[in-house]
Symmetry: C2
Subunit: 360 residues, 2 copies
């Protein structure tokens, strides 16, 4: 086994339980978890073969990119109830194994808050620090892997976009929306590399016949970033930073060297990468199209949600003193951009993969 | 499986890396870990049957009461090297499983600090929050359990000693040293109850043939607490609090209602409790007698070490404002009590238990 490297970069959600904490600002993600409940139940009922599950003295579940709760607890509970039901429906109630649940996120995730808020539970809980782009578990040890709104985070900003000598240098923007092709290509290449690493690691960790449930925001095939809600949201955030640079509140060179390590995938891209990996079958790929969701709930709410997710990475680069002004401007800009946001498209992708048994 | 309760009480070591942190004040415990290295190597070489180990697709190790490091990392590394060696010596190098290591401590242990300081490693790491007096892992999932200088912590202060109507009411003291028999008996009964719960939980979690290595401070059979180093140290700390009560710096009733949930066991007691449980054989019980170790390294060092372990629980009861005065007084009292401390006896107990195969 190779020596595990401590990962170079991490982008934890806001810890604690303050006004901009992820704990108090994750209801958008929550609605995704809720709407996936029925899909998860169906997936487990139809696709999990509890008669032939290897290494099932205990049933091991991981949530990758768990952040600090409460969504992770709800997601895990949904999975356990569905697995319980499956054992019952197969007349195996008495053989239902004990559940071992692993909550995993970056090393600098606030695990203290996560552990302190663990609910009463019928499972054994553990926290696993580390990047999901590396191996996190022993071979063949996991039965169900779940990841909800985490795989949009790249392992790093593509190095070309901060290289002043590269055609992909992303001057004056913080994302590939409205950027030259080279920038979008650098992001897309980084996403492919990361997803390949993700699938390679999971292929080793998941038992034959085990399932992987991935929820992630996406865009319809062929949608340019400028017509996709996430792209519009990130572009507007970047333009607020540029406004501040023009007024001298932040250093323009600092904006040039800042990029969000976030990528919004499409069903086509996911299919191609899963196929290339070869260890999983796509059992289901459901894309719920959402239009105009960037404006839902009002500009302030959207701004606060983006802040809960992005504050850490912005603070690290610019310092915390710019945050209030930045997100005030952002709220206003979002309010002024309602028609643009209402035209934006996004998908909520539900992807169900099964670990092949023929290549195990 | 019963619903797991969140535990009521916990007494974490000082987190972070400040001057009184456990991270910087755990060298006494470190010397215990170091001196046990050879014992652990021998135990694993002689007692671990790698040919007949159940559920060994991966090799699972837990350190119970891990605190925040670095001792836990050293202990785990020692175990892994010894297991590696054992597989090699049996001609099973190529079958050495991957290691899954669980670091476990109370929910309010500083897991963020622990995770941030994980070394480069050849194992997969996880953190497990919860009291080791409850179940923490699925049935038959652990191969080696390690616990170093943690089992002296009771799950709670025995309730009689804070009951003003009980003959065991412990007025004017914070420990059973120099207390009426009823107090010592209440502590001893709590220790027995806790150890029984500990062994019951571990008996379910450890695979047949799995090992449990326990290091803990003890006293020679039949030694009264007043002649034992831990007893002397706790009694002197209590007398500093009483001095402060007499001067009006702390409320005397607060001292009366405060008791350390700490018990120092003897080889005889451990043997009786393991026998009563019935699921483990005692493969080794080594007691290294130490005399006068309470004075080693000087009064300031001892005071700082006790502070790193006890500050949290004292702060919770008395508030943080008394800490500096209390530990100043304690340093002076320790310096004035050198001859008493030099007469005090303590044992470093190394206990090796093996999960019976006949009652699995």
């Amino acid at each position: 086994m190779e020596v595990l490297k401590t990962q170079a970069e991490s982008f934890p959600m806001n810890g604690g339980d303050g006004v901009y904490s992820y704990v108090k600002n994750s209801s958008l993600q929550r609605s995704g978890v809720d709407s996936s409940k029925a899909l998860i139940e169906k997936a487990i009922a139809e696709k999990l073969d509890v008669h032939n599950l290897p290494n099932s003295n205990s049933f091991r579940i991981v949530d990758l990119g768990c952040s600090v709760g409460p969504n992770t607890f709800i997601a895990v509970q949904n999975i356990i109830e569905a697995v319980d039901l499956k054992y019952k429906s197969q007349g195996l109630s008495s053989e239902t194994p004990e559940f071992h649940v692993f909550f995993s996120d970056h090393t600098f995730n606030d695990f203290n808050t996560l552990f302190a808020s663990l609910p009463e539970r019928k499972y054994f809980a553990a926290g696993v620090p580390g990047s999901f782009y590396t191996r996190l578990f022993p071979q063949g040890s996991l039965h169900i892997v779940h990841s909800s709104f985490a795989l949009q985070w790249l392992s790093r900003v593509p190095k070309e976009v901060v290289d002043i000598n590269s055609p992909a240098w992303n001057k004056g923007r913080i994302h590939y929306t409205n950027a030259p092709n080279e920038v979008a290509e650098a992001y897309s290449a980084q996403y492919a590399m990361d997803t390949e690493a993700f699938l390679r690691a999971r292929a080793q960790e998941i038992v034959c016949g085990g399932l992987m449930v991935i929820l992630v925001a996406g865009v319809p095939n062929g949608t340019p970033p400028s017509q996709a809600t996430p792209g519009i949201l990130f572009h507007l955030l970047g333009s607020c930073l540029m406004d501040m640079a023009k007024r001298g509140t932040v250093d323009e060179a600092k904006v040039d060297s800042f990029n969000l390590p976030v990528y919004t995938t499409s069903p086509q891209e996911v299919e191609a990468l899963v196929e290339k990996n070869g260890c999983f079958s796509i059992e289901k790929m459901e894309a719920v199209v959402r239009q105009g969701s960037g404006g839902q709930g009002g500009a302030n709410r959207t701004s606060t949600h983006i802040r809960a997710g992005m504050e850490g990475i912005i603070k690290e680069h610019f310092g915390s003193e710019i945050l209030d002004e930045l997100f005030d401007r952002y709220s206003k800009k979002l309010a002024d951009s309602q028609s643009l946001l209402e035209s934006g498209k996004t998908l909520q992708l539900f992807i169900l993969l099964k670990r092949n048994t023929n290549v195990c």
